[in-house]
C-alpha cells in the first residue's frame, strides 16, 4: 500500500513535521527557558545568561516556522482547523515570541536605564510563549475540545511545560557557563525537573482516557510489550537525571552536557508516545493525515526540495553549534 504516492507522501510529511516540532521544542525550549530564568538573576549576570543563546535563537525559532509551514503546505485543511480552534492561544504565543525576540535585540542597544525594562519584556515574552504552547498541547491532547475540564487540564500542562522549558534552559546553562552561574543553574535544574515529570505524567495519563481508540492502542497485546520500554526508560531517565544533578559540578567540568541530553531524551520519549497515540490522525479523531493532505504532485515538489535542503540545514546547524561550542565567553562580540 505504501507504493502509492498518495499514501506514502502524507506519511513522510507527517514524519518530517513531527521531527520539526520535536527539534523546535528541544531547541527553542532551552532558549525560552533561559528567557524565564533571566528574572531570577541580578541584572549584572543577565548578559552572560543571554549570551549563551545569542548565536542560536533565530535559527531555533525557524524550526517553528518549518513545523507550521509543513502543516500549512502538506495538511492545509488541518492547518485551518487546528489554528482556528487554537486562535486565542496562538495569538498569545505570537505576542510572546514577538516580545521576547525584539527584547533580545533592544536590551543590548537601548540606553542603560531602559535595559531593565526590556529584560522584563524578555522574561514576560518567553513565559507567555511557553505557557501558550503548553496550553495548546493540552487542548490538542483533549481533541481540541474546549470546556471547563479540558481548560483546567491544559492549564496544568501549560505550567508544566513552562517549568520543563526552564529545566532545559538550566541544563543548557550548565553546559555553557561556569562558576557561580553554573552552580545556580544546577539548583534551577533540580528544582525544574518536576515540570518535565508532571508534563509527561499528565499527558501520558490523559491521552488514553480521552479516546477509546488510543486506550486500545496502548493496552492491546502485543503492542503493550514493545511499548513498555517507553515508560520504563522515562522513569530511568528521570531518576538518573535527579541523581546525576546531585553530583554536579564534577572535576574538570565532566558531564556538563549530560543533563541537557537526558532532558532532550525525555522530550523525545514523550514525543514518541504522543506520535504513537495520535497516528494516523493529524486533527485528533477527526482528520487523518491522508484526509488532510495536499495533492501528491505538490507534496512531491516540496519533498524534492526538502530532501536536498534538510541535510544542508543539518550541516550548517551543526557548523554553528561547533563554532560556538564550549563556554559562552565575553569574546563573543563583533
Amino acid at each position: 500500500m505504501f507504493d502509492d504516492p498518495a499514501v506514502w507522501l502524507p506519511f513522510v510529511f507527517a514524519a518530517l513535521m513531527g521531527l520539526a516540532i520535536l527539534i523546535y521544542v528541544i531547541l527553542d525550549g532551552f532558549d525560552l527557558g533561559i528567557g524565564m530564568l533571566v528574572i531570577l538573576t541580578p541584572p549584572e549576570e543577565r548578559d552572560t545568561l543571554i549570551s549563551t543563546i545569542g548565536p542560536f535563537w533565530d535559527a531555533n525559532e525557524t524550526w517553528l516556522v518549518l513545523a507550521v509551514g509543513l502543516l500549512l503546505v502538506a495538511f492545509p485543511i488541518a492547518h485551518g482547523v487546528i489554528l482556528t480552534a487554537l486562535y486565542g492561544p496562538v495569538a498569545l504565543m505570537l505576542f510572546g515570541l514577538i516580545l521576547r525576540g525584539v527584547a533580545f535585540e533592544f536590551r543590548a542597544k537601548v540606553p542603560f536605564e531602559r535595559k531593565a525594562r526590556w529584560d522584563l519584556a524578555f522574561f514576560a515574552g518567553s513565559a507567555l510563549a511557553a505557557v501558550a504552547q503548553g496550553y495548546m498541547l493540552g487542548i490538542y491532547v483533549m481533541g481540541l475540545q474546549v470546556n471547563a475540564q479540558t481548560v483546567l487540564f491544559s492549564l496544568i500542562v501549560a505550567g508544566a511545560l513552562a517549568v520543563a522549558y526552564s529545566f532545559m534552559g538550566a541544563a543548557w546553562l550548565i553546559l555553557k557557563t561556569s562558576g557561580p552561574i553554573q552552580l545556580k543553574a544546577i539548583t534551577w535544574a533540580r528544582r525544574g525537573l518536576w515540570g518535565l515529570v508532571l508534563g509527561l505524567a499528565a499527558v501520558s495519563a490523559a491521552t488514553p482516557l480521552v479516546s477509546i481508540r488510543i486506550w486500545q492502542k496502548w493496552t492491546e497485546l502485543p503492542a503493550i510489550l514493545w511499548l513498555a520500554p517507553l515508560p520504563i526508560l522515562s522513569l530511568a531517565l528521570i531518576i538518573g537525571l535527579w541523581r546525576f544533578l546531585a553530583t554536579l559540578p564534577r572535576p574538570g567540568d565532566r558531564g556538563a552536557a549530560v543533563p541537557f541530553l537526558m532532558g532532550a531524551g525525555l522530550f523525545l520519549l514523550g514525543f514518541i508516545g504522543m506520535a504513537y497515540s495520535f497516528y494516523p490522525y493529524v486533527v485528533p479523531e477527526r482528520l487523518t493525515i491522508w484526509q488532510a493532505a495536499s495533492a501528491p504532485e505538490s507534496l512531491r515538489v516540496i519533498l524534492i526540495g526538502a530532501v536536498i535542503v534538510l541535510p544542508l540545514i543539518a550541516g550548517y546547524t551543526a557548523l554553528s553549534y561547533t563554532v560556538f561550542r564550549g563556554k559562552a565567553s565575553q569574546e563573543d562580540i563583533h
Binding site: P55, A59, G80, Y87, I98, E105, I313, I333, H334
Partner: protein, 458 residues
C-alpha cells in the same frame, strides 16, 4: 465591523509591519558585504567601523523581521483557512521553499555573521555574510513569486474546486513576477540607501566627523541618485504589465471610471464610489493616455467595465488605491529631488561643504523608503480586491469563521504591540547613531562592564 473586515485589517497590519524589516535587511545584507569586502581590499579601518555600526541595525531589523514573519505563517490558518484549502497546492510549495531555502539560510548563518568574527577564519565570516544576503534575497524571490501568482495566476488547473499546479515554471515566473521582484528589490535598495544617508547625516549634525560617516553619506547619496531613475523606469514597466493583466487596478490607480481615449493624468481628485465619479479633478490632459499607451489618444480602461449586470462590483475600492499610488509616486519624486540635489552639492562642495539644511532634509528622509514601500504595496494589494487570487478566489470566501470579538481583541493587541515596537525601533536607531557620534564621550554606566553580545569592543 464583521470578522471579514477585521481579519483584513489584521492581516494588513501584520504584513505591513513585517515588510518594513525585510525592506531593510534585503539590501542591507548586500551593503554589509560591500563594507566587509572594501575593508578586506583596502585595509582601511573605516569600513570595519561602518560594518560594525550597520550590522547592529541589521541584527535589530532581522530580529523584528523574524518574529513578525513567524506571525505571518500562522495568520493563513487562523484567519484565512480558505486560502490554503483552495490554492494550497500552489501556495504550499512556494512557501515551503521559502522556509527551506531562505529562512533557514539566513537564520543559520546570522549567528556566525554576528558573533563569529573572533571564532571563525575571515573567509568563513565573509561567506556567512554572503549567505545571509543570499538568504534574504531568496526569501524575497519566493514570497514575490507567490504574491505575483495571486495577482496574475498561471500554470494551474482547477480540479474539484481546488487549484493544482500544471507547470511550476509558469507558476513561479508568472507574468507579473519579474516586474514585481525587480521593483521590490530596488525599493529595498532605495529604503536602505536613504536610511544610511539619513542616519549618516544625523551623525554629522551631531558633530560626528569620523571618516566612515563621510564615506557612507557620500556613497548612499550617489547610489540613490543613480538608482532612483532605474526604479522609476522599472515602476513604469510594472505599471504597463499591470495594464495588460489587471486593467481594473490601473483604472483605480488612475481614478478613471469610463473606458475611453485621450484620458488626463489626474494629479489630484476625490473619487466617489457611491456616485461613480470624481468630485474634484486636477489633471494633465492626455497624460494617462500618453503614459499608459504611449499615444496621444490612447484608450485607458475604466472602472465601469468591472460591474456586472447584477450590480456586483468586481473592481477594487477606488479611493485607497488612487491615493496610495499617489503617495508612492510622490515619495519617489521627493527621493529623486533629494538624491540629485545631494549629488550636485557633493560634486560642487564635497561632504564637508554640505549645508546644514540639506543634512536636516536628508535626516528627515531616513524612513522615506518605508512610506513608499507601504504605499506601493497598498496600491497593488488593495488593487487586487475583491479577489484574493485574481479570478479564482474571492477574499470574502477565504475568511475563517472565528468570532468577531475574538478577531477584534487580537487586532487591538497586534496594533498596540506594533506601535510600541515601531517607536522603540526608531528611538533605538537614533540612540545608536548618537552613541556612535559621541563615541567615548558619553558617560558609560560603570556596572555596564559586561559587553552584551551585540555591542562592539570599544
Amino acid at each position: 465591523m464583521d470578522s471579514l473586515i477585521l481579519s483584513r485589517i489584521q492581516f494588513g497590519a501584520n504584513i505591513s509591519f513585517h515588510i518594513l524589516f525585510p525592506s531593510i535587511t534585503i539590501a542591507l545584507g548586500w551593503l554589509l558585504l560591500v563594507f566587509r569586502l572594501r575593508e578586506a581590499v583596502t585595509g582601511d579601518s573605516k569600513w570595519q567601523r561602518a560594518y560594525q555600526f550597520w550590522v547592529k541595525v541589521f541584527a535589530l531589523s532581522f530580529g523584528l523581521g523574524v518574529v513578525s514573519g513567524i506571525t505571518m505563517s500562522f495568520q493563513f490558518g487562523t484567519n484565512w483557512p480558505g486560502f490554503m484549502e483552495t490554492v494550497g497546492n500552489v501556495a504550499g510549495p512556494l512557501l515551503g521553499y521559502e522556509v527551506l531555502t531562505a529562512f533557514f539560510l539566513e537564520a543559520g548563518f546570522l549567528g556566525i555573521m554576528l558573533y563569529g568574527s573572533n571564532r571563525v577564519p575571515g573567509w568563513l565570516h565573509v561567506l556567512a555574510t554572503v549567505l545571509v544576503a543570499v538568504g534574504t534575497t531568496l526569501s524575497a524571490f519566493w514570497i514575490i513569486a507567490l504574491n505575483s501568482w495571486m495577482q496574475t495566476p498561471t500554470g494551474y488547473e482547477i480540479i474539484g474546486g481546488v487549484a493544482h499546479a500544471t507547470s511550476w515554471r509558469e507558476v513561479i515566473f508568472n507574468p507579473s513576477m519579474p516586474y514585481r521582484l525587480a521593483h521590490m528589490l530596488l525599493a529595498s535598495a532605495m529604503t536602505v540607501l536613504f536610511l544610511v544617508a539619513g542616519l549618516s547625516a544625523y551623525r554629522r549634525l551631531q558633530g560626528d566627523r569620523s571618516r566612515e560617516v563621510v564615506a557612507t553619506l557620500k556613497g548612499a547619496l550617489v547610489a540613490a541618485a543613480v538608482l532612483i531613475p532605474v526604479q522609476i523606469y522599472v515602476g513604469d514597466a510594472h505599471g504597463l504589465n499591470t495594464l495588460q493583466y489587471q486593467p481594473q487596478k490601473i483604472a483605480a490607480m488612475e481614478g478613471n471610471w469610463e473606458t475611453g481615449p485621450a484620458k488626463p493624468l489626474l494629479l489630484f481628485a476625490i473619487p466617489d464610489q457611491e456616485q461613480r465619479r470624481n468630485l474634484f479633478e486636477i489633471g494633465i490632459p492626455h497624460g494617462a493616455s500618453l503614459i499608459l499607451r504611449h499615444e496621444w489618444d490612447g484608450v485607458v480602461p475604466g472602472l465601469n467595465d468591472y460591474v456586472t449586470a447584477e450590480g456586483e462590483i468586481l473592481h477594487p475600492p477606488v479611493a485607497p488605491v488612487f491615493f496610495a499610488f499617489r503617495v508612492m509616486v510622490g515619495m519617489g519624486m521627493l527621493m529623486l529631488l533629494v538624491s540629485w540635489t545631494g549629488a550636485w552639492l557633493l560634486w560642487r562642495r564635497g561632504v564637508e561643504g554640505l549645508p546644514v539644511w540639506f543634512l536636516r532634509v536628508t535626516t528627515a528622509m531616513s524612513l522615506s523608503g518605508w512610506v513608499a514601500v507601504l504605499a506601493g504595496w497598498y496600491t497593488t494589494e488593495i488593487g487586487r480586491q475583491p479577489w484574493l487570487v485574481s479570478g479564482l478566489l474571492m477574499t470574502r470566501d477565504a475568511v475563517s469563521p472565528v468570532a468577531t470579538p475574538m478577531v477584534a481583541s487580537t487586532l487591538i493587541g497586534y496594533l498596540t504591540l506594533y506601535v510600541v515596537l515601531l517607536i522603540a525601533y526608531v528611538m533605538t536607531l537614533l540612540h545608536l547613531a548618537r552613541r556612535a557620534a559621541h563615541g567615548q564621550r558619553l558617560p558609560r554606566d560603570p556596572r555596564d562592564v559586561t559587553p552584551s553580545p551585540l555591542q562592539p569592543a570599544e
